[in-house]
């Protein structure tokens, strides 16, 4: 797959220790374009858009932000948001900078917990990037769909 020089320089941003400690691609050996394309196909199969998933996650985080670092119940979710000092840039090089917001969300019906960041929501909504496989922030679209809407 051909890359522009800008894309090549941006690729470094996804590696561990450049923007975040663990980077964005985990153990995934696929090209970022391929990761995105496969997830787009999965979303199409599920009949849901990345924007709908991101919007629901944002709704949960926004609720959790009202009581930082406390467990907050919203619908059948328990949300705990931590908001640290500092900002993180998007690895795709797109503004703006993102707050270091880190949320643990538990679906009490499924008894499952996910970890999501403000930057992660941006990557999902604007770049259809759900992180690479093996990353602790990877959210499989099929799992996330069940988690948020079942």
């Amino acid at each position: 797959m051909k890359e522009t020089p800008l894309e090549k320089s941006l690729y470094r941003n996804f590696l561990p220790g450049i923007l975040t400690k663990d980077g964005f691609i985990g153990e995934d050996k696929r090209h970022i374009h391929d990761i995105i394309e496969e997830d787009i196909r999965e979303l199409e199969r599920l009949g849901i858009s990345e924007v709908e998933l991101a919007k629901k996650l944002q709704e949960l985080i926004d609720f959790g932000k009202k009581n930082l670092e406390e467990d907050v119940r919203y619908e059948h979710f328990i949300i705990n948001v931590r908001w640290s000092r500092g900002m993180l840039p998007c690895p795709f090089g797109e503004p703006p900078l993102h707050y270091k917001i880190y949320a643990k969300i538990t679906n009490t019906k499924l008894d499952k917990t996910i970890v999501v960041t403000q930057l992660g929501i941006h990557l999902m909504e604007k770049h259809v990037f759900f992180y690479g496989k093996g990353s602790k922030y990877r959210l499989e679209p099929v799992f996330l769909y069940d988690f948020l809407f079942r």
Partner: protein, 369 residues
């Protein structure tokens, strides 16, 4: 047959190698920009090796432009005004600059390459920013997730900073992390102590620098810092001072309190400190010392999630409610607010200050908060 294959492979390799050599030579010849002059503020001319980014060219001449990402073009902090010689705006800069900034010739120093003589404008205070080699003389836990770093200056041996300012700490490679990063931390030690600084660093989930500090750093290590930086310091006046912090946001406030004590400032000072439980409280002995020695100072810690186990008799509830309770009946027409903590807390507390007649021109906080 075999010899033909070998000859073909060798020929192709030879031609490829020759072309690569030509490219390297061409780059050396045509991309050699020689020595270029950087004119600063229409006064000083400094000579730098052409071809480097403006950020690194200035850094080599010990002029430090604040940057949080180490020159990767991702933080957008290293903005300087380039009057002449920078070439056209690059696609990597555009996302980080507003329309007004573009109109005013602001550029990202990390993206602008010095290829010819260049004229720039930077604030005078940047000339006070230096690189310091330090010895980590003490590394201790303040809480389960906040550490105190005591850094003795090795070279230069003295630092001049205003209480409330910050430095950038340079990490070292560790674990799978092969590169260094710079991160900003407020100084918590007194500004009249010139031979050392102290920092408070709270662990951030998956933070590159805070993981290094909490899990890898050892006493006795030599660390690099760059500073001082920032516009967060005590403004003059006679009015009441409201200090507000949470977690490691206490750092610059402590430095400001040492300043108030040292300068014998007699303004009314209230320090609101938000925490969840008693496990998140620290420096209580230092606060007691300030209460005994600063005439009009009161420390007001508030716990948002205190349980019976905490046996807490102080203020309980959200810090915003506690602030409002204490300041709502005071004359706030000249009062000043100084905030440091998570952006969420800072935003919420600014709203409380605003609703109590403290306008934004009298509210101060670090932009990296």
């Amino acid at each position: 047959m075999v010899s033909k294959i070998i000859i073909t492979v060798l020929s192709v390799s030879g031609i490829t190698g020759f072309l690569a050599l030509i490219l390297v030579i061409a780059e050396k010849i045509f991309a050699d920009y020689g020595v270029c002059k950087v004119n600063i503020n229409g006064e000083e001319d400094i000579e730098v090796d052409g071809g480097k980014s403006l950020l690194f060219a200035l850094k080599e001449k010990k002029i430090f432009i604040p940057s949080a990402c180490g020159g990767r073009g991702t933080c957008g902090y290293c903005k300087v005004r380039v009057i002449d010689g920078a070439g056209p705006l690059l696609p990597t800069e555009e996302p980080m600059l507003s329309k007004d900034e573009m109109k005013n010739n602001m550029r990202l120093a990390c993206q602008v390459k010095v290829k010819k003589d260049i004229q720039i404008q930077i604030p005078e205070e940047l000339f006070n920013i230096k690189e310091y080699k330090t010895n980590l003389a003490l590394l201790k836990d303040l809480t389960y997730d906040i550490k105190l770093l005591h850094l003795e200056l090795i070279e230069p041996k003295e630092i001049n900073f205003k209480a409330g300012q910050y430095v950038q700490l340079e990490t070292k490679p560790y674990g799978d992390i092969k590169e260094t990063v710079m991160r900003a931390y407020s100084i918590c030690s007194p500004s009249y102590e010139k031979n050392y600084i102290e920092l408070m660093i709270r662990r951030v989930p998956d933070g590159i620098c805070t993981t290094w500090v909490h899990d890898f750093l050892k006493e006795g290590e030599v660390l690099n810092i760059i500073g001082p930086m920032g516009e967060f310091y005590l403004r003059e006046g006679e009015s009441d001072i409201y200090l507000i912090a949470g977690g490691s946001g206490m750092a610059p406030i402590v430095s400001i309190l040492y300043h108030i004590l040292h300068e014998k400032i007699e303004r009314n000072v209230l320090f609101f400190f938000g925490a969840r439980t008693t496990k998140d409280l620290f420096y209580l002995d230092v606060m007691e010392y300030f209460e005994q020695n600063i005439p009009n100072f009161k420390f007001i810690p508030a716990l948002s999630a205190a349980t019976n186990k905490d046996k807490w008799e102080g203020e309980k509830g959200r810090i915003t409610d506690v602030i409002n309770k204490y300041i709502k009946d005071r004359d706030n027409s000249q009062a000043q607010g100084y905030l440091c903590g998570s952006p969420g807390m800072v935003k919420a507390c600014i709203n409380v200050l605003n609703s109590n007649n403290i306008t934004n021109d009298r509210i101060f906080y670090d932009p990296f908060a």
